[in-house]
Amino acid sequence: MKKPNTFIVVAAVAAAVIAATWLLLAAPGYTGNEINMTRGVTSQSTINYSLHMTVLWICIVIGIIVFSAMFVSIVLHRKSRGYNPAQFTHSTKAEIIWTVIPVLILVVMAVPATRALVNMEVAPETEMTVKITGFQWRWKYEYVEDGISFISSLDPESNAARRLASGTPPEEVDNYLLEVDKPLVLPANTKIKFLITADDVIHSWWVPALGWKRDAVPGYINEAWTEIMEPGIYRGQCAELCGRDHGFMPIVLHVLPRAEYDAWVLEQQNPESVSRLAASPARPSATAYENE
């Protein structure tokens, strides 16, 4: 009787450790690294977050049912307890049930999944357009209507610290690898169309808070849209392997209230008028421009 007991003890300890870790990490007080998808700041990201949570919970429930049946069987139906094996080989009824029920669950999942995809892909009437071009290893942004255009690359401080044996610990760099020299400035509560392409190899433009990523493919112009609900700073990265410095082409968005954004546009178009604007109340707030 010794061996089976050892098995149960080890299995129970392993299960307890895993469960405890999960609970600990899921606890509201846990302040360490993030473990779940962001809710984000767009309708797409919120829909994706709740769809993700719905499917995750369905999966967890399925998992619990299947694994409990298995665990009960492992505990009860063992030779060491003198259990005699049954000899049944199939049950048409059971097999029909566990084919039909999963199909129903899938249908239940497919309905919101279809709705979310339609919302993601079918762009509404947009108010402005930004063209994004991926290069090895930086991003170019062009404001189609306003004629503004610039290149955004990894912040020099991160760029120095990330070298092999640079001597600078990443903890000492603000937003290590997630800071750029010139962020993409966008207005909040505005429907924005993105035209995404690449100039050399395939990249992928991804800011998790927007709720999607889209590949930047040479020869293609992909469309995507967004409407960011809250001003703030949002960070992301290139998500498609694009060569040596793939890990070092971040994306930073500075999302401003509409009026501040309009002022920023004017400033970009007439750099000489900066002094005049500085006196005006439309000057971007200091909080949104921590790196200026």
Partner: protein, 543 residues
């Protein structure tokens, strides 16, 4: 030599069949014996498992903490690319061919594989293919660094060494195709009288279906890499947008191969687990026919889901919806399999020797990988998951505690039959527990990393990802080290173990292979066995 003469030369009736085997190196070079070739495949794949594994250790060591400490980004990319190519084509696939060689003839009552000389050839191509592939690491332009998916235009930026990669892939493809032809010819032609298709062990069924998948998709991969080759060296523009080509077309072609490829690595695992669970539950496999049909449906569906790897590329809404629905459908036959395994255990009389432990862990952890696969199928959310560590966690769950655990389960299960000795049960169990716990420490936190926004294939990351990367790396080092126990158990079993194995080996084992003595003689079933309904597992599977 033509195929016809090979066939007639090696029919069981032919009388030079019983030559003594040559000794030393010549035996292994010239062998046409399915057991020798099976051993060659298995030893080769174990070697590749350790080479690919050391690359994984380099990756996990660099990712242990933020900042670059050990390798340059370019070398890191070579490591991720080579790790995948070697594990997929060098470790998992040849290991399954090794099992097929050893077990298929013994399970269906055949004297050998149907095409023994081709069998020898299909193995001996592999060492050359992988020498060529690995040699690129020592060339000026370095190894391939564009990921195992070899997406152009990035893969076309590789230097001269790229030609070696392409030809190595061609050779692996030729080897796989020959291996599959052999499997199909053996199963369809050499079954003992009475071993009807619906009495074949599940492992035979899953391999038959796998072999058809291989024959259908390996030429597609060969075509894709050949077009890369001519784009790179001969100025064609298949995938070059500037020349009128289409980089996205490559992804469609690649994944038309790539998705069935995933099932090529997992279907034989389903087969092995379906052999092991009934043995240690002392109860027949539940729903045998359903298992066969489920395997066939999964294989069919694997051909119409490829673009779920490409939701972010940009495709028409209807296309995305089609690939999402088709992918979700795979959950149904996969669910049938899992439910059938649990029902096989239900009301059995179970014992928990090492093969059973690995098989149970397979069912649990593969199911976790399957459920995260279901999440990834949801196209709009995939625009968040795609190319993050969530995906890395998902496919490692189906491949490591999935395929690799099934391989280990199979190795422990049949090792006594192969060697005639019992392995050390204590060390087998230690190997199991250390592997099963560390593999979860290694891969589970990667779900969190991906959801929190860490892209895959990056050598360095921002500090918010530090905790779970460190945990994952620690799990990785333990998992890597624990595989040395596996080698120790095998070496001990082959050379040192004094405990003789019986023919039956496992109390509840059924099937023709267990009617043979242990170790199985060099030549078995020279005359087809008379099938006794009580010795095979699926004699009464349908009434």
């Amino acid at each position: 030599m033509s195929m016809e003469t090979t066939l007639s030369h090696d029919t069981p009736a032919h009388d030079d069949h019983h030559h003594d085997k040559p000794r030393g190196l010549a035996r292994w070079l010239y062998t046409t014996n399915h057991k020798d070739i099976g051993t060659l495949y298995l030893v080769f794949s174990l070697l590749m498992f350790f080479i690919g594994g050391s690359m994984a250790m380099i990756i996990r060591a660099e990712l242990f903490m933020p900042g670059l400490q050990l390798v340059e980004p370019e070398f890191f990319n070579q490591m991720t690319t080579m790790h995948a190519l070697i594990m997929v084509f060098g470790a998992v696939m040849p290991a399954w061919v090794g099992f097929a060689n050893w077990m298929l003839p013994m399970m269906i009552g055949a004297p050998d594989m149907a095409l023994p000389r081709m069998n020898n050839w299909s193995f001996w191509i592999l060492p050359f293919a992988f020498t060529m592939l690995l040699s690129t690491l020592f060339m000026d332009s370095g190894g391939p660094a564009a990921g195992w998916t070899l997406y152009p235009p990035l893969s076309l930026q590789g230097g001269q060494s790229f030609a070696f990669v392409v030809f190595a892939v061609h050779m692996m493809g030729i080897s796989s195709i020959m291996g599959s032809i052999n499997v199909i010819a053996t199963i369809l032609n050499l079954r003992a009288p009475g071993m009807t298709l619906l009495r074949m062990p599940l492992f035979v069924w899953t391999w038959l279906i796998t072999a058809f998948l291989l024959i259908m998709v390996m030429p597609v991969l060969a075509g894709a890499v050949t077009m890369l080759l001519t784009d790179h060296f001969f100025g064609t523009s298949f995938f070059n947008a500037a020349g009128g080509g289409d980089p996205v077309m490559f992804q469609h072609i690649f994944w038309f191969f790539g998705h069935p490829e995933v099932y090529i690595m997992i279907l034989p695992a389903f087969g092995v687990v379906s052999e092991i669970i009934p043995t240690f539950a002392r109860k027949p496999l539940f729903g045998y026919s359903a298992m066969v049909y489920a395997t066939a449906s999964i294989a069919f569906l694997s051909f119409i889901v490829w673009a779920h790897h490409m939701f972010t590329v940009g495709m028409p809404l209807t296309g995305a919806l089609f690939f999402m629905y088709a992918t979700m459908l795979i959950a149904v036959p996969t669910g049938v399999k899992v439910f059938n395994w649990v029902s096989t255990m239900w009301k059995g009389s179970m014992t928990f020797e090492t093969p059973m432990l690995f098989a149970i862990a397979f069912v649990v952890l593969f199911t976790i990988g399957g459920l995260s696969g279901l999440m990834l199928a949801i196209a709009s959310v995939d625009l968040q998951y795609h190319d993050t560590y969530f995906v890395v966690a998902h496919f490692h769950y189906v491949l490591v505690p999935g395929s690799v655990f099934a391989l280990m389960a199979g190795a422990y299960y049949w090792l006594p039959k192969w060697t005639g000795h019992m392995y050390s049960e204590t060390w087998g169990k230690i190997h199991f527990w250390v592997s099963a716990i560390s593999v979860n420490i290694l891969f589970f936190p990667q779900h969190y990393l991906g959801l929190a926004g860490m892209p895959r294939r990056i050598p360095d990351y921002s500090t918010q990802f530090a905790d779970f990367n460190m945990i994952s790396s620690i799990g990785g080092f333990i998992f890597g080290a624990s595989q040395l126990i596996f080698v120790g158990v095998i070496v001990h079993c082959v050379y040192k173990s004094r405990q003789k194995a019986t023919a039956q080996v496992w109390e509840g084992a059924k099937g023709l292979e267990w009617t043979l003595p242990s170790p199985a003689p060099y030549h078995t079933f020279d005359t087809p066995p008379v099938i006794d309904e009580t010795t095979i597992a699926h004699a009464h599977s349908r009434h």
